[in-house]
């Protein structure tokens, strides 16, 4: 081996040693270089997953957006660090961001659960309340000849309420909230409108009670039969000797709320009357009938005042108000008369005579006694 050969050999040995030493140094650097905070990252991911599971996106959107944004920043930071040479990587910021993501995700999840729980119990309570209002309207007002939008609002409220119930059953509380709020507003409006309407009607209650008391007292004094019709209760009572003898279900004119004012208003009059004629089967198309003396003096005076004031059309006051048969239809269908079933009409017909007092009142009971309001 020549001098040159020895030099090359030494050079190669030096290169080899350099590679080996370099390798050792490199391995050392790799072993001690920065490592990504995997535990914090996994925690952040679990936190986000849990938050999504409890629908934080829907029920705590602000908190969830914060958590998702921080997570995106964390991932970008991780990518940024990974793009750097391994010796210069620093995962501290990533660890902080991952930790913040975990906190924000848990906060979002907690908030979502809280809101969901509160929505569930709040909505369940509200559903119950709206349901009760709807039932209350159905029982107390739906059958009344209400003016305005009360019935339409009630129907709309009922539809919205039923939709809300469906959405509640499948856990879509956001949807429940939207429909239930509308249902609640509509039914509250309907109840209030109906209540206002009925309150106006019931202002004559003391007069009605006085008429009824006077009629019963007359019956007692004269040991005779009298008829009292309670329009609100849809009842026809017969008193004998001041004592209630029998009661019948009664049907009225469709606009039975309020007294009769003029011909064709389809209202049943309120006042103190008496039977002027008993009509047998051949004399009426409604099985049998008891004609009363509508209009009485009070009715005529009211009609004159109303016509003078222009509050009603000058169409005539109307007449031929009767208690007659052919009832039992389940609706208020007469032109202002009181209709009983034919079987009840037979009984009533045999209990009264021409001259029997007939007192027709709006109601014998107050609104509070009827529906608790």
């Amino acid at each position: 081996m020549g001098k040159r050969g020895r030099r090359i050999r030494r050079l190669l040995l030096a290169v080899f040693l350099l590679v080996v030493v370099g390798g050792i140094v490199f391995a050392f650097l790799v072993a001690f270089s920065a490592k990504p905070p995997m535990e914090a990252i996994q925690q952040a991911q679990s936190g986000l997953s849990y938050a999504r599971e409890v629908e934080a996106e829907k029920y705590a959107p602000r908190q969830m957006v914060s958590a998702e944004t921080t997570w995106k920043l964390a991932m970008n930071e991780w990518k940024h660090q990974n793009d750097r040479m391994f010796l210069f990587r620093n995962y501290e910021k990533l660890a902080t961001l991952a930790g913040t993501t975990s906190e924000q995700a848990l906060l979002a999840a907690d908030k979502a659960l809280q809101i969901k729980d509160s929505l569930q119990s709040g909505l369940s309570h509200k559903l119950k309340t709206v349901g009760q209002k709807i039932d209350h309207f159905q029982v107390n007002y739906a059958h009344l000849p209400l003016n305005g939008t009360a019935r339409q609002n009630y129907s709309n409220a009922r539809l919205r309420y039923l939709e809300s119930k469906q959405a509640f059953e499948r856990g879509d509380y956001k949807q429940v909230g939207v429909n239930l709020d509308v249902a609640s507003q509509l039914i509250t409006k309907s109840v209030s409108e109906a209540h206002h309407f009925i309150s106006g009607y019931f202002k004559d209650l003391p007069t009605w009670r006085r008429w009824a008391d006077e009629t019963i007292a007359w019956s007692k004094k004269n040991r005779s039969s009298v008829i009292i019709v309670d329009k609100f209760a849809h009842k026809c009572y017969v008193y004998q000797g001041g004592k209630l003898k029998i009661e019948f279900d009664a049907e009225l004119g469709p606009n039975w709320i309020g007294t009769k004012l003029y011909r064709g208003d389809k209202a049943t009059p309120e006042g103190k009357y008496h039977v002027t004629k008993k009509k047998a089967r051949r004399e009426t198309k409604y099985y049998k009938a008891l004609l009363i003396n509508y209009p009485n003096d009070d009715d005529k005076a009211r009609y004159d005042v109303n016509v003078k004031n222009g509050t009603i059309p000058k169409r005539g006051i109307g007449n031929l108000i009767e208690i007659h048969g052919d009832g039992g239809k389940g609706i208020n269908w007469t032109d202002g008369c009181v209709a009983l079933t034919n079987a009840d009409m037979d009984k009533l017909y045999n209990m009264v005579s021409v001259g029997t007092p007939v007192t027709i009142v709006g109601s014998l009971r107050s609104m509070k006694e009827i529906n608790g309001f």
Binding site: V15, W78, S155, I331
Partner: protein, 199 residues
């Protein structure tokens, strides 16, 4: 001299191994997995099968984290073998999730459509009953009120049709169920009145 040549070759071989050992990022698998999850979402899996979609989405997130984890390692020590398997699993998992969502969606759609058809039939039955109901003085006002309510039911059914067309089957189902209940109550009300009138 021969020994020197051998040493040089060994060094070169070591360097070659060093670079050949660098694993390649499974870009195609990542793209496939992401596309599969997107496809499941497009099929509204998040709405119709939320639990399954959540599990799928979590699997993708876990795989992507693992990708970044591997990228954090020195090139020589990276291995995308497990990640590739996970990403492939996501693609495999996504298909049944998408199918389930589509099936559930179709079920809800079919239910909503069937109920809509039944409700439409019921509306025409109620209209027939209105025609048969006592007219004139015997309940004209009551019929008007029922007609108004029926108009409300019809308006709701029109909304249901629009919702079905727009693909919002769950809301459509809520609405059609409510409309059906209301329509049935109207039908019963009318049948009762007609029965009483015929006595």
């Amino acid at each position: 001299m021969k020994r020197n040549v051998m040493l040089s070759l060994a060094s070169l071989f070591a360097l070659a191994i060093l670079f050949a050992g660098c694993a390649k990022l499974p870009e195609a698998e990542i793209a496939n997995a992401k596309a599969a999850v997107e496809a499941a979402k497009a099929a509204e899996a998040d709405r119709y099968v939320p639990a399954e979609y959540q599990a799928l989405s979590d699997s993708l997130d876990a795989a992507m984290t693992e990708v970044e984890n591997q990228k954090s390692k020195f090139a020589m020590f990276r291995s995308y073998k497990n990640v590739t398997a996970k990403l492939n699993d996501v693609v495999v998992l996504a298909e049944p999730v998408k199918e389930s969502a589509m099936t559930r969606k179709e079920e809800v759609k079919a239910e909503a459509q069937q109920m809509l058809a039944e409700a439409t039939t019921m509306v025409s039955e109620v209209n027939d009953l209105i025609a048969k109901a006592p007219k004139g003085k015997e309940g004209k006002e009551a019929l008007e009120a029922i007609k108004n309510d029926l108009a409300l039911v019809e308006a709701t059914l029109a909304e249901v049709s629009t919702l079905i067309e727009n693909g919002d089957f769950l809301t459509a189902l809520d609405k059609v169920k409510a409309a059906t209940e209301k329509g049935n109550s109207l039908k019963m009300e009318l049948e009762e009145v007609i029965a009483k009138t015929r006595r």
